[in-house]
């Protein structure tokens, strides 16, 4: 304080200091004294750091107090006492005793026409695939007995990866052993904390789990609404202009589905690619449902939209639907995909796909290749025919959601009773079973942000569904809904 009154270039002697004190007014000295006392007081204060505070002698609980608290603590039960969803649990009790093909036989002896499973190309039970799987079983056994890194790589895995890459015209493919874990592992192997992901709000739950695991900032855009996406991208670009340093290290991604399982819509890939280049955002496409069902030769959404696969950074798909086996894969350039061999958690730390399933997938892929889109075209026309008939004959009873050529359609009961509840739809599925049809409601977990506001019956079309099978489905839907409306 005394220093402040001094001139910088005047050198001070100790005697001058004493003299200054003498000559200073009393109020000044009193003020200085108070300040010094205050500083000393601060020095002796307790620290305000919460971490130090807890260790402070006054705050630490004694052992007896701790024991008291521990004895008082009552945890919630591990399993909450929510009432069980009996209809859902019943689906684990309904046992198929035949293959889940175009028709399914159950343990109660009923054989139902299947409109519920993702067997789009009717590959389940296909003799060629089965024989290849059996041959593989007799050569490799069932399990692979290890992750890919530790002797879990069989020649069939390498062959299937090569085949997938060639099928898509990409540099490299990576094989996962479970469809759900494919995209859920692929996203967090690139997107990290502080990165930004633009995701369609109706993305399937596997994508959402990937987003969650990445810990990135998630921005959801309205379903298939490229204008909304562009608005968000623009806002982000504005943000980036203000903070270029941060923008240089922030990766940005768009994540979409080729064919949305949750609503049966097809994504506007062409426009998304334009946005990708305009805003320099990487584009990841999940196509578990669109592989084999879209495109002239079944090569999925890129072929359907006329987009080069090179314009999509990464394509991930499960092979559990159209290819009728288990697992999933990611294809793309070597630069992108190879990274997953060391950082895709579901790839590195999981046992590899059982070789017989890889062999089955390989045979199924060969079939898709050889058919040159014949079954895909048939599937599209059956789906389209079903869609048109649903609109023409049942428009006043059921609402149908999904693209006409999509093999996935969501049906809701709005129109006949004004009410569309899950129990009502479950009852409809049960009635369908009595009429010889296998239907299912779409199931979601509570945390699923992509689920539709209204529950639905998810129809899955098989390319070999005959006109009479479609006819009986329509007859059932009509009579059931009419019956409801009368009540």
């Amino acid at each position: 304080m005394l220093i402040f009154v001094a001139d910088a270039d005047v050198s001070w002697e100790f005697s001058d200091l004493i003299e200054a004190i003498y000559s200073a007014p009393t109020y000044h000295l009193v003020f200085e004294g108070c300040l010094i006392l205050f500083i000393v007081g601060l020095l002796f204060q307790h620290s305000f750091l919460p971490s130090k505070r807890r260790g402070g002698s006054g705050d630490r609980l004694s052992k007896a107090e701790e024991d008291q608290l521990i004895a008082e603590w009552q945890p919630e039960p591990l399993v909450s006492g929510d009432p069980a969803d009996e209809a859902l649990l019943a689906s684990y009790q309904r046992c198929a005793t035949s293959q889940v093909g175009r028709s399914v036989t159950y343990s109660d002896g009923r054989t139902l026409v299947n409109f519920a499973t993702g067997n789009f190309l009717d590959f389940i039970g296909e003799a060629r695939i089965r024989d290849r799987a059996l041959a593989s079983l007799r050569h490799y056994g069932v399990g692979s007995c290890g992750p890919r890194g530790f002797y879990g790589t069989m020649d069939v895995h390498l062959h299937l990866e090569e085949q997938l890459a060639k099928f898509y015209g990409c540099e490299e493919a990576v094989l996962y052993s479970y469809g759900f874990s494919t995209i859920a592992s692929a996203i967090p192997s690139y997107a990290k904390r502080h990165d930004i992901i633009f995701a369609d709000e109706r993305c399937c739950f596997a994508i959402q789990q990937g987003l969650e695991a990445s810990r990135s900032k998630i921005i959801r855009f309205r379903h298939n609404d490229t204008a909304h996406l562009e608005e968000l991208l623009q806002r982000q670009a504005e943000h980036d202009r203000r903070n270029p340093k941060k923008a240089r290290v922030t990766r940005k991604f768009i994540v979409v589905e080729g064919l949305y399982v949750n609503c049966g819509d097809i994504c506007p890939l062409g426009e998304l690619v334009k946005l990708k280049y305009k805003y320099k955002v990487r584009l990841f496409v999940e196509e578990s449902a669109s592989l084999g069902t879209l495109g002239a030769t079944g090569r999925g959404i890129c072929e359907e939209a006329g987009v080069s696969v090179q314009d999509v950074d990464l394509i991930a798909a499960g092979i559990e639907n159209a290819l009728a086996t288990q697992g999933g894969f990611v294809v793309g350039t070597k630069y992108v995909v190879d990274h997953q061999r060391l950082s895709g958690l579901g790839y590195c730390f999981s046992a590899s796909l059982p070789p017989m399933l890889a062999a089955a997938a390989s045979e199924a892929l060969t079939m898709v290749d050889e058919m040159r889109g014949e079954r895909t075209a048939r599937l599209k026309s059956v789906s389209d025919r079903l869609h048109q008939r649903l609109l023409a004959e049942l428009d006043n009873l059921w609402s149908v959601e999904g693209a006409p050529m999509s093999p996935i359609k969501h049906l809701r009961l709005h129109r006949c009773t004004g009410e569309n509840s899950l129990p009502a739809l479950e009852a409809a599925c049960a009635a369908a079973a009595d009429a010889g049809l296998l239907l299912t409601v779409a199931r979601y977990v509570a945390q699923d942000l992509g689920q539709p506001a209204q529950p639905s019956i998810r129809l899955s079309v098989n390319c070999n569904h005959s006109d009479s099978e479609i006819g009986s489905l329509l007859d059932f839907l009509k009579s059931y809904a009419t019956g409801l409306a009368k009540k």
Partner: protein, 558 residues
């Protein structure tokens, strides 16, 4: 003699640690030098680079993430991902690879190498191309095909699934069980159904990546305790209960302790009896991942619960996989009826993922049936369990006698042998393969940086001759690479574990083979609810007595 906690973790000798660090420093220095040369065009750059179309995007991954891959991992890449072309049984055939460019890429000259398999998880030798399991899988393929194409909760339930669930529940001694098609996903996709925000997960620091991911996806507070350190678990438990959640200071809703039965990189066994006592004392819940222990530990193969003689109902969540002991794929969670019912309604895998393919389910059901003495040749399941146990102890004892540092529990079929120095990782992997032994070597980041190791997985498919041959190869290679670091004498228990002992044990189990259903047919007799904490010593003593008789007989015969 109690073998309960006979674990070995000989500390790293100082000299070895220093040399190891120097090794990494050298590698890093050379790595930076080579990067410099590559960046300035003196050395050909073979790294996959950003395609032209996305050249001006933010790089997809950080450069330093790939420094390790580029400069350390790449040089010894031939030790991993070795492709095989046969069933991963006691022996396998590897497809030879050649790298024309020091590990950047591989070519396949079309030749093959036959080797003893100590790398695959095939504890009970169920990786087979014929026999009851493969036959069942083939029959299931004929009936059901390979895929299902629907989640269990919609239309993907086969009668095989229901049978497998009942079998698993009976085998592990739980009320009910639910199965999933991928072991990794069993952890990652089900933990969020059990706990969530406002809860606390106490996780062992060496837990598998799937448990870590599962815990992260729950949104709960994660606290990590030191590996197998019960005192640390208790301290963290007390802390969690007393001080509650960070910031809000509200008490946690639930606390879940997550451990593995056998740790696959350490060969250690969790301290289950102490954990059960702790969880009861503090009202926490226990999640036990038996991926490497189900089928491989315990007198009946029912995992560490069986090994310690605990009551399975004391473990809230019993998780395990079908990959390692049963030659299949997928996993299960067993527990109370309420728990399983909850999972059936909330499991991400049950509601969204396709269900387990029929051939895999058939293989696993049959393997379980064999262990329970209900399928296959009489006594075959019991024989496999005994063979694995004898193999494990015999192999471990032989390694101890070589003077290498062996980690882990005496009865754990995962046997890590310490390598330490980075240069020796590849040397060990290559030299053993050259002599006809396929094994796994692991280094950073799968282990702490200086604790690189080789890992041997025992199998009931290995014969004693195969084990002797492997030990001889390991002897040669470890002498060559100066890997006999151990300064301790072999542990006391190894004294009696000789080839004669092993043969006598196996002979004994052959004599004990009884027709179907008699030996291991019924459910395991329910143990007292209080955990005894000791393995059935008495049984062991009886066995020892019988072995002595047998040894006498062998001696007399010779």
């Amino acid at each position: 003699m109690s073998v309960k906690h006979e674990e070995q973790f000989e500390p790293t000798p100082y000299v070895v640690a220093i040399i190891t660090y120097i090794g990494y420093v050298m590698l890093a220095v050379f790595g930076h030098m080579r990067d410099f040369l590559r960046n300035h065009g003196f050395e050909k750059n073979l790294i996959a680079t950003e395609p032209a179309r996305t050249k001006d995007f933010v790089p997809l991954y950080q450069n330093f993430e790939s420094f390790y891959t580029r400069n350390l991992y790449r040089r010894i890449r031939d030790c991993w991902n070795r492709p095989i072309r046969t069933c991963p049984g006691a022996e396998f055939e590897l497809i030879d690879r050649k790298s024309p460019d020091h590990g950047w890429s591989f070519e396949y000259p079309g030749t093959h190498t036959r080797a003893i398999n100590f790398g695959s998880y095939n504890y009970l030798g169920f990786a087979e191309t014929d026999g009851p399991c493969a036959d069942a899988a083939a029959a299931a393929t004929e009936t059901f095909g390979c895929g299902v194409g629907s989640p269990r909760a919609e239309a993907g339930n086969l009668d095989l699934h229901t049978r497998l669930e009942a079998t698993v529940a009976e085998f592990v001694g739980a009320e009910d069980a639910i199965i999933f098609p991928m072991g990794f996903a069993t952890n990652a996709l089900n933990m969020p159904a059990l706990i969530g925000k406002g809860c606390c997960v106490l996780s062992d620091e060496l837990n598998h990546s799937s448990l870590v991911l599962g815990a992260r996806l729950t949104g709960a507070k994660i606290k990590v305790f030191r590996h197998n350190d019960i005192a640390d678990v208790e301290a963290k438990l007390r802390d969690a209960i007393v001080y509650g959640q960070d910031r809000t200071r509200r008490p946690f809703k639930k606390i879940l302790i997550v451990v593995e039965g056998v740790y696959s990189m350490e060969g250690s066994v969790t301290r289950l009896p102490e954990l059960i006592a702790l969880k009861k004392k503090y009202k926490a819940y226990l999640y036990l991942d038996e991926a490497h222990s189900i089928g491989a530990m315990g007198p009946h193969g029912r995992g560490v619960v069986d090994y310690f003689g605990c009551d399975p109902r004391d473990v809230d969540v019993l998780m395990g996989t079908f990959t390692k002991s049963f030659g299949g794929a997928g996993g299960y969670i067993a527990g109370s009826q309420h728990l399983v019912a909850l999972l059936r309604q909330r499991s991400h895998s049950g509601l969204y993922g396709a269900s387990l393919p029929a051939p895999v389910a058939a293989q696993v059901v049959t393997a379980f049936q064999m262990l329970m003495g209900r399928a296959g040749p009489p006594g075959e399941g019991a024989r496999r369990l005994k063979q694995l146990e004898v193999n494990t102890q015999y192999f471990r004892a032989s390694l101890h006698r070589l003077g290498v540092i062996v980690y882990g529990h005496r009865t754990s079929p995962v046997v890590p042998v310490m390598i330490f120095m980075p240069g020796k990782i590849a040397a060990f992997g290559r030299e053993t393969l050259k002599r006809g032994l396929g094994t796994v070597v692991v280094g950073y980041p799968a282990t702490p940086i200086i604790e690189s190791r080789a890992r041997f997985c025992l199998s009931a498919a290995h014969s004693l001759d195969i084990i002797d041959r492997s030990v001889q190869i390991i002897d040669e290679v470890t002498s060559l690479l100066l890997m006999k670091y151990s300064r301790r004498p072999p542990p006391a228990w190894t004294a009696g574990i000789t080839r004669e002992w092993a043969e006598a044990q196996l002979k004994l189990v052959d004599q004990q083979r009884r027709p179907h259903g008699a030996a291991n047919g019924g459910p395991v007799p329910r143990r007292p609810v209080e955990c005894r904490g000791d393995p059935p010593d008495k049984v062991a003593d009886e066995n020892d007595a019988a072995v002595k008789d047998n040894l006498a007989a062998v001696a007399a015969a010779s």
